[in-house]
């Protein structure tokens, strides 16, 4: 309990810092925001008008306060391009990104878990070398290039899968999968690399533990020892680093959505950057940061549930 409270409390300054960082993004622009948006050719009156509209003339603290106030009311401002509320824009794009995130994570686990366990069970053998090398490749091959190669091979050459074009899951699951499978694999493969090494090293640590020796001395088969006894313990550090994995995943999705033209959250961000739609950029980045912080808190809490030794509010017998 005490741990959890400390965790939540220490997240507050982080959230404040994050909000300040995101807020000041707009104000880091060289010159004033209005000129940045309208361009240098715009008339001084237009610039002045926009600056007034953006509230640039108020003292900065007040601007920050207004902005935070709006945040708490779920208002992230409006897009500078078409004036739609940023929240609405993001909500539209979220499903695709969410699906990609989950899919990539699943792919990563499907690759990393068996190979990590296998490598740890047979360290130093050819299986270990092959799996480790594959994970090396996963870390080294840029996932956007992998995506391009997949498009080249499966779409252009073989015509099996579409190169782009997104259909929502609810509309047509099959078409959705056809469009999403390549980006999921491309992103997931990269994530699996880091995950696999974690699983492997964690399993190796666990396999050297005394209680594994006890299990073997009881007559348990190797599989029972690996899956039954070792895995549960080995997963603990893996779960705790999954939080970092999610953050990295989100970063990678920006490019992936661009390559495969998937109308997701990441593509929204990059498009907004190019269209100089600063409010959308601002709002999107804030959402991402808050999401990452929340995921990390959840992972920390999860940790206390998985490891029985960390039950702080249970009495010792």
């Amino acid at each position: 309990m005490r741990n959890l409270v400390f965790r939540l409390v220490s997240a507050i300054p982080v959230l404040i810092l994050v909000s300040v960082m995101v807020f000041s993004l707009l104000h880091l622009l060289p010159g004033d925001p209005a000129t940045a948006i309208l361009g240098n050719e715009a008339s001084p009156e237009a610039i002045a008008a926009l600056n007034e509209k953006l509230g640039m003339n108020k003292p900065i603290i007040v601007q920050y306060g207004d902005w935070v106030y709006n945040l708490f009311h779920g208002n992230l401002g409006n897009s500078m391009v078409d004036n739609t509320p940023v929240t609405k824009l993001i909500a539209q794009r979220l499903p695709a990104t969410l699906e990609l995130t989950v899919g990539a994570f699943v792919v990563a686990i499907i690759i990393a878990l068996p190979s990590g366990i296998l490598s740890a069970a047979r360290p130093g053998t050819w299986i270990d070398h092959v799996c480790t090398f594959i994970s090396m490749l996963g870390m080294s091959i840029p996932h956007f290039w992998l995506g391009m190669m997949m498009i080249l091979f499966f779409a252009v050459k073989l015509g099996l899968l579409p190169a782009s074009g997104y259909v929502s899951l609810t509309q047509d699951p099959v078409a959705n999968m056809e469009a999403m499978i390549m980006p999921m694999i491309a992103t997931g493969f990269r994530q699996s690399a880091v995950l696999m090494r974690m699983v492997r090293s964690s399993m190796l640590d666990v396999m050297n533990a005394d209680y594994i020796r006890t299990a073997v001395a009881k007559g348990l088969s190797e599989r029972a020892v690996l899956v039954g006894q070792a895995l549960r313990n080995a997963m603990i550090p893996v779960v705790t680093t999954s939080g970092l994995l999610i953050a990295s995943l989100l970063g990678g999705l920006v490019i992936t959505e661009t390559i495969f033209s998937i109308p997701g959250f990441g593509k929204l961000m990059i498009d907004s950057v190019f269209r100089r739609d600063f409010t959308t950029v601002q709002g999107s980045i804030l959402i991402v940061a808050v999401f990452v912080i929340i995921v990390n808190i959840i992972v920390d809490v999860l940790y206390t549930f998985i490891d029985p030794r960390i039950k702080l509010d249970k009495e010792d017998k």
Binding site: P142, F144, M148, L152, V254, A289
Partner: protein, 290 residues
């Protein structure tokens, strides 16, 4: 003092010996050397001009046509020459952001780890947490939106992305070392904190920081390639491997080889840095295990 130094020297020698025996690590070292050599001697190796060597008669050729070893791009420029010159961008991308992150991050990490206290717990680490809440690519995106695109800004953005990691790792290493006996001994003799940090703590954490450095270089190369690919990093004429990929995507169905070579190069170099860093880590670990 003398004892420590001689012990460190023999440890260094042992680590080097182990590293050399490690085949994978040496492969990584070779790849990194190839990168450095190519970058340094680009003007000598490349047969054609990478930016201005357009040849509109030989556009989008396959590898092996004439003297175009790896084919040509949409303006008739030799892909191989562009690749060779692009290695300079790759090298810069590997070195600059990481150097930036280390020069700023390591002192902060040492301070945070050594002094601890309020400044460390509530100020430095919270700032680090805040930075880490932004996936590095998205951080780079945001900075690009504000500062504009371009290679230099991309370098800064990537460097800032590495800062939290270096601070964290340095800090935790320092924390594990600071209570060792001979540190206490130095303190009790009256050495200043600064001299302890520089002469006693840093040399001990250096190996791990070197490992982190090489692995970060690998990440930096991929990050720069990604940013250039999206159009936020190097501009299209600059033959950064990432921007080469960007251009090639438009011609994927017409001349796929344009996309293949830059990607292979990036993968190879990143693999090199990763193998190097991993080999380094193994060489250091074995020393610990003894």
């Amino acid at each position: 003092m003398e004892n420590n130094r001689t012990r460190r020297q023999s440890v260094m020698r042992m680590i080097c010996a182990r590293f050399i025996r490690d085949r994978q690590a040496m492969v990584g070292a070779v790849l990194v050397c190839i990168l450095v050599l190519t970058a340094l001697s680009a003007s000598v190796i490349a047969p054609f001009d990478p930016i201005f060597g357009q040849n509109y008669d030989m556009v989008l050729q396959n590898p092996g046509t004439g003297s175009y070893m790896l084919g040509t791009d949409e303006l008739g420029r030799d892909t191989f020459s562009r690749l060779v010159y692009g290695s300079r961008f790759t090298l810069a991308a590997a070195v600059i952001p990481v150097a930036f992150a280390m020069i700023i991050g390591i002192p902060i990490g040492v301070y945070a780890g050594y002094k601890g206290g309020f400044m460390d717990q509530w100020v430095i680490m919270r700032v680090v947490d805040a930075f880490q809440a932004f996936p590095s690519l998205i951080l780079a995106l945001a900075l690009a939106a504000v500062l504009g695109g371009g290679f230099t800004n991309a370098m800064i953005a990537i460097g800032i992305g590495f800062l939290p990691n270096f601070i964290r790792i340095t800090r935790s290493q320092v924390m594990s070392v600071r209570n060792l006996d001979y540190i206490q001994a130095s303190k009790s003799v009256g050495c200043s904190d600064l001299s302890i940090a520089v002469f006693h703590i840093l040399p001990n954490i250096l190996p791990i920081l070197l490992v982190q450095m090489t692995l970060s270089m690998a990440s930096a190369v991929i990050a720069e390639a990604g940013l250039s690919y999206m159009g936020i990093g190097a501009s299209p004429e600059q033959p950064s491997w990432g921007s080469m990929l960007r251009i090639s995507q438009g011609y994927l169905s017409v001349q796929p080889w344009m996309a293949v070579w830059p990607g292979i190069s990036i993968s190879a170099i990143v693999l090199g840095f990763n193998l190097f860093g991993d080999g380094l880590r193994r060489a250091i670990d074995s020393k610990v295990r003894h």
